[in-house]
Symmetry: C2
Subunit: 107 residues, 2 copies
């Protein structure tokens, strides 16, 4: 069954433009690693104050996160992205994200 996942992160306000630019040029290997790990229909949305919303669909989010986390390209990508985020407290962005429970769905 498809899981629909929503997560939040906080981008530093001073770095919003730069963060947007990195996402216009996500490394092709990173895109391929996401797909291979089972991340699909994956969007990121960014509010002016830095609130970042992620939405994706996958068969098993725990497995998809673990599979991605095991790749070299993800380690490099997360290291490159870490400086853009607030409140990670030493975690990588893909470890520090907050997943929100779903309360409603309409196909």
């Amino acid at each position: 069954m498809t899981q629909r996942i929503c997560f939040l992160l906080k981008v530093k306000k001073a770095l919003l433009d730069e963060y947007r630019a990195t996402h216009e040029a996500v490394w092709p290997e990173m895109r391929a690693a996401l797909s291979a790990a089972g991340w699909s229909n994956y969007s990121l949305f960014l509010r002016d104050d830095g609130m970042l919303v992620g939405y994706l669909e996958t068969d098993d989010f725990d497995a998809a996160r673990a599979k991605l986390a095991a790749t070299d390209v993800n380690a490099r990508w997360q290291a490159a992205m870490a400086p853009y985020f607030e409140e990670l407290e030493g975690q990588r962005p893909d470890e520090g994200l907050t997943v929100l429970p779903s309360i409603f769905y309409l196909a």
Copy 2:
């Protein structure tokens, strides 16, 4: 072309449980009106502090909002939901939502 829409609203912390309960029992006429207006793959996600994230797919969000706004059931639903939200400043929830720009997409 499919538009992928993300929006935010803020639910009052004291009313979170009640708000969740309303969404386990959304009126069948309201679900039907959403579908008829072109809202699809529509999820709501709720964080513990009241941050509400909506995600949906549609061919034309402006048209889908307008079509829904023209229905009686939506007027009744939005009137029933308005007391749960903060910061609407007199708008209905479906008028007061903040739409976030997309910065990344992976099919």
